[in-house]
């Protein structure tokens, strides 16, 4: 598709300043400035450090995206921005910039949901996503299982983590193993030479008693503690910690829980489609096991390219373009940053007072 509204999307919910531009479902630009390196020495995302970096990166990222798309601001039809969920101080930088840019250029503004944006990234792929679909979104900030009946009209939260996000668990276990931040790629790297069956770590919320109340929820806190305890016991006994086996076994437990619940949702709802999104999708084992299980279960698996899986502005622009195509009115100018915005709120403040 080469027509449709040209939308500029702004994303600042965590540690990536993202600006993307789409025309309908065609990607024109996707520029990301990450402050990840600044967080590395703290072992996790520091909200104030992230917010400062967003403010510094905002205008340069906007300019870079326009240059990449080869467009001037006058050629943009609308602006979309992440209203939440995310870190509120970080979100506010994007919201403040987006509102001022909308007023300065006279363009309509769409305030959208970050998590639904992750799903929206898939419309930029050549074969458009079919609905309904199950979507598993996993990153350092969120672990959510969604039932998406209609991208712009009907998204339901089936389950989410009740403690740590999966990405956080990777960071914490990496630390236990003396590996640097961010933990995901590090665990992935050392796990290559490990035996995923060497140690059986507990799977959170997977017992029969959890099947009702937490059927689609996740918990990684117990797993993280179990790994730490196992490592301590081993080194207390004067034995060398088999880092590769621990990493592989831990990763296997995370992947197993994530995908078991995702495919369970596919089966429960009779929906043979699963979309993966979020930074943890970069994990090779997640993709591999997902592909195997999808094949076995007859489920169509969709994984957008990595640059559209991690937080980015293009997915926000894509969702904005879909909202416009579906006839949604712009958001008013009165919305704020909502750190706990529920996934059912795909667009915030639609048709809000704008005078």
């Amino acid at each position: 598709m080469t027509d449709g509204p040209v939308v500029l999307g702004i994303e600042t919910s965590c540690d990536e300043t993202g600006v993307g531009i789409v025309r309908g479902s065609t990607l024109l630009a996707n520029v990301i400035a990450s402050s990840m390196d600044e967080h590395a020495r703290y072992g996790g995302v520091v909200p104030e450090v992230a917010a400062r970096a967003h403010l510094e990166a905002m205008n340069p990222t906007l300019e870079a995206a326009l240059a990449e798309a080869g467009l001037g601001l006058d050629e943009i039809d609308a602006i979309a921005v992440t209203s939440g969920p995310g870190l509120s101080g970080a979100l506010m930088v994007g919201v403040g910039a987006a509102k001022a840019l909308a007023v300065a250029t006279g363009k309509p503004l769409y305030a959208v949901n970050h998590l639904v944006g992750h799903v929206g990234a898939d419309v930029l792929d050549d074969d458009a996503l079919e609905y309904p679909t199950i979507a598993l979104l996993v990153s350092g900030g969120h672990t959510s299982l969604l039932l998406v009946r209609d991208l712009v009209g009907d998204v339901e939260l089936l389950g989410e983590t009740i403690d740590d996000a999966a990405g956080e668990a990777f960071d914490k276990v990496a630390r236990v193993l003396g590996l640097p931040y961010p933990g995901g790629p590090q665990i992935d790297r050392v796990a290559k030479d490990g035996d995923p069956k060497a140690i059986h770590f507990p799977r959170g919320l997977m017992q029969a008693k959890d099947l009702e109340k937490h059927r689609y929820d996740f918990s990684f806190s117990g797993l993280k503690t179990a790994v730490a305890r196992w490592v301590e016991r081993t080194s207390d006994a004067g034995e060398e910690v088999p880092v590769a086996d621990v990493a592989a076994s831990f990763r296997e437990a995370v992947v197993d829980v994530l995908l078991t619940k995702a495919f369970r949702a596919c089966a429960d709802f009779g929906i043979p489609r699963l979309l993966l999104g979020g930074g943890v999708v970069a994990n090779a084992r997640v993709r591999q096991v997902a592909a195997e299980r999808a094949e076995a279960a007859g489920v169509t698996l969709r994984i957008p390219p990595l640059s559209l899986c991690t937080d980015n502005g293009a997915m926000i622009a894509a969702l904005g373009a879909q909202l416009i195509a579906a006839g949604h009115a712009p958001s008013g100018l009165g919305f704020g940053a909502d750190s706990t915005l529920p996934v059912t709120e795909i667009q915030v403040d639609e048709g809000g007072r704008a005078d």
Binding site: M58, A98, K99, L101, V103, D355
Partner: protein, 204 residues
């Protein structure tokens, strides 16, 4: 004609032509910068009946002020300037308070104090002469008990910073050749982070 934005205390937005404030909107609410900023910019444009394209620069209050709110105004000012293709002019927020005092006829030494949260304050000292205020020291950060002595002058504890006054102060400073080169927010405090110490054991 220029747009001025300051969110170092509450939120204040103004349209200023020369020394004349054409329109100004403000709230002392220190919790809703992100919510109100768009409507307030649109509001002053409507009040003055001007379009964004007729503006030729944007003045941004760079603080000091509580970070989260301060950033909303700076992000908005920068994005607005980008949107209309105009330059951004950074200004020290306390200068607006000193300018207001000067306009009200106050002369001599002045201490401007604003809330920095966490039991600290931001402060600047000024000498208010007939030509206008000149900042002597600051902006700086300290505990309320450590403020510089000001027994010989006035002290103003400001809860609002006027964007209109900020633009007028900036104009006056420029006219007097008082110009500072800076472009980044005046945080005056490092991010509150604790370096990870030795990892704690989970088992006894």
């Amino acid at each position: 004609m220029l747009l001025a934005i300051d969110t170092s205390a509450g939120t204040s937005v103004a349209l200023v032509e020369g020394d004349l404030v054409l329109a100004e909107r403000a709230t002392e609410d220190t919790m809703r910068h992100a919510e109100v900023i768009g409507e307030m910019i649109l509001g002053v444009l409507a009040d003055a009946g001007v379009s964004p394209s007729s503006l030729d620069s944007v003045v941004a209050g760079m603080g000091p002020g509580p970070f989260t709110g301060l950033r909303v105004g700076i992000a908005a000012a920068r994005a607005f300037a980008l949107g209309i293709g105009a330059p951004i002019i950074p200004a020290v927020s306390h200068d607006a308070v000193a300018f207001d005092a000067w306009s009200a006829g106050i002369r001599g030494p002045l201490l401007v104090v604003t809330d920095a949260r966490r039991r600290e304050v931001y402060w600047s000292t000024y000498e208010l002469g007939d030509e206008g205020p000149a900042r002597a020291e600051g902006p700086a950060l300290c505990a309320p008990g450590d403020l510089p002595p000001h027994s010989d002058g006035q002290r103003i504890d400001a809860v609002q910073v006027s964007a209109g006054s900020l633009a007028r102060a900036e104009r006056q400073n420029r006219g007097r050749g008082i110009q500072e080169q800076f472009s980044e927010p005046l945080y005056l405090r490092s991010p509150d982070v604790t370096m990870p110490g030795a990892r704690k054991r989970v088992s006894q």
